[in-house]
Subunit: 136 residues, 2 copies
């Protein structure tokens, strides 16, 4: 299921618990990031440590709980935890022994963001269709 | 609650349903993205359309359902929906009349990603502490 327009692409990653991992870069033709949505079953951790050459990573835990290891530091994470890791950080994540963990990982070119939100967004005069028309 | 190391920063956004919106750029000192985690109550939509000057946006619906409007096209979204919007896309999102919607929005400089995953990651020889030590 996907649909596209001149300025957008939309799709669905389906059942992440069943898939284990979905990556968005190719499906959505992303140009500023690679994004993965991941679920590790209870007791399962990634079997390797890794770092990056250029990319900053941000992890967002959206369900469950687990543990991070970064540069030898270990700490617990749970729904709502957010973590930035710089390219040289040596990192890994595991689900808790008793709980699966679902997390989103966002890779971007470090130091690439120029401006954002109020500095980059443009509010338009026209209104979304779900607002009632203004009184005349 | 937050902790930092030479190559990382970790925090928690807490209860998004109560907060409504959390932004990560400043809390985590991000350099490649601005990321917001948002929840709209049932029947509530953003009251304005907006576009961007430079930034690509990716929306990930992590809970509930709602509707998107982009360049006049309207479509339904639900948990698992993922949407890329190019800078000039005129966009808005609303929760469904009967369901709240929780979504993550990622802003990045369009066309900034140079390489990713296998092209950018470096697998290390040392193993995470949660793996059993190899047999000697």
């Amino acid at each position: 299921m996907s649909n596209t327009g001149r300025n957008y692409a939309a799709s669905s990653v389906g059942d992440i618990q069943a898939r284990g991992r979905a990556t968005l870069h190719n499906d959505l033709s992303l140009t500023g990031s690679e994004i993965s949505i991941n679920e590790l079953p209870a007791g399962v951790g990634l079997p390797f440590l890794h770092s990056h050459k250029r990319n900053e990573e941000v992890y967002i835990v959206v369900k469950g709980k687990g543990r991070f290891q970064i540069d030898g530091d270990e700490f617990e994470v749970a729904e709502g935890s957010v973590v930035r890791v710089d390219p040289p950080g040596v990192r890994c994540i595991t689900a808790d022994a008793q709980s699966p963990i679902r997390y989103i990982c966002i890779q971007t070119e470090a130091k690439s963001l120029v401006q954002f939100t109020e500095g980059d967004g443009v509010i338009l005069e026209t209104k979304p269709t779900w607002l009632p028309a203004p009184a005349k």
